[in-house]
């Protein structure tokens, strides 16, 4: 007779949205290790906050590669993090009205931050400010 596998950590959900969420955590987590540690090394170790300013960001986002890199990281980190917050709400907020309120806040935050983050990364046009600075 085989013994059941002892449960360490969260059990794999049997299907549906929770199973997609389970896989999303793991796949996005692996990608984020690469993305976030690269980001930490470039933005906190090689360049520190003493050196980073608007011009630094403008030069960085001159390259479509870094815009894509930052947008992918924004998308994955926000959904990974808010999905984690969703599980925390599941665990701690039991009364139904409060749960509905918490989920509403969560998904509202998710949509607003995905939109403003995407606007910031994708629509940024440094030339507009450089021309204005030269004209004055």
């Amino acid at each position: 007779m085989s013994t059941p596998r002892p449960s360490v950590g969260r059990e794999r959900p049997s299907g549906g949205f929770e199973l997609y969420s389970w896989y999303f955590f793991r796949i996005s987590g692996l990608l984020l290790i690469f993305l976030a540690i690269t980001h930490v090394i470039i933005m906190h170790v090689i360049n520190t906050v003493d050196r980073i300013d608007w011009n630094f960001v403008a030069n960085r986002w001159h390259s479509p590669f870094w815009r894509g890199f930052d947008w992918l990281m924004l998308f994955l980190a926000l959904l990974h993090g808010l999905n984690g917050a969703r599980l925390a709400i599941d665990d701690y907020i039991r009364p139904r009205p409060w749960r509905i309120a918490a989920y509403s806040v969560l998904w509202t935050v998710a949509i607003i931050f995905l939109v403003i983050g995407s606007i910031a990364i994708l629509t940024f046009n440094p030339e507009a400010f450089r021309q204005a600075a030269m004209g004055s």
Partner: protein
């Protein structure tokens, strides 16, 4: 059939239970000192640190999205916000953020190992200590380099 995590050893133990002194009520004290000497199992600590570090990094991410949104409003708007990040209090918070991020990344790998590699279950305790070691080994040089302008 024996599963990989089944060591096959019998876990059934017969213990002789001493009769308890029923004249004395059990001492239950709901004070902090009642928890003195309690050592949470590593798996529980790993989980608690994972959740705390995850929510902490998420909080910073939301702040970071707000600050980067001001980049679109020009150099003055964005640069005026940088006093927050250059403040000594935030420089310390930044270290905490990196420590939390490294822990979350290392423990995330531990979780994936336990999920997809059956034998990892046997080593989950050792894996937790490895996660702590990796976090410290990665964090110390990062912290020294981040604070180099103060030395």
């Amino acid at each position: 059939m024996r599963e990989p995590w089944d060591k096959g050893a019998s876990v059934v133990t017969t213990e002789v239970v001493e009769p308890k002194d029923v004249t004395q009520p059990p001492a239950t004290r709901h004070t902090l000192s009642a928890y003195r000497g309690y050592r949470p199992p590593p798996g529980m600590l790993a989980w608690a640190f994972h959740r705390i570090s995850g929510l902490g990094v998420l909080l910073f991410l939301l702040l970071h999205i707000v600050d980067i949104f001001t980049v679109g409003y020009g150099p003055d708007a964005f640069n005026s916000l940088l006093v927050i990040y250059r403040h000594p209090v935030f420089r310390v918070a930044e270290l905490l953020l990196i420590a939390g991020l490294y822990y979350h990344a290392a423990n995330g790998v531990r979780i994936i190992l336990i999920d997809f590699w059956d034998r990892a279950y046997h080593y989950q305790r050792e894996l937790f200590y490895a996660v702590l070691a990796v976090t410290v080994i990665a964090f110390v040089p990062t912290a020294i380099l981040m604070l180099r302008s103060f030395f």
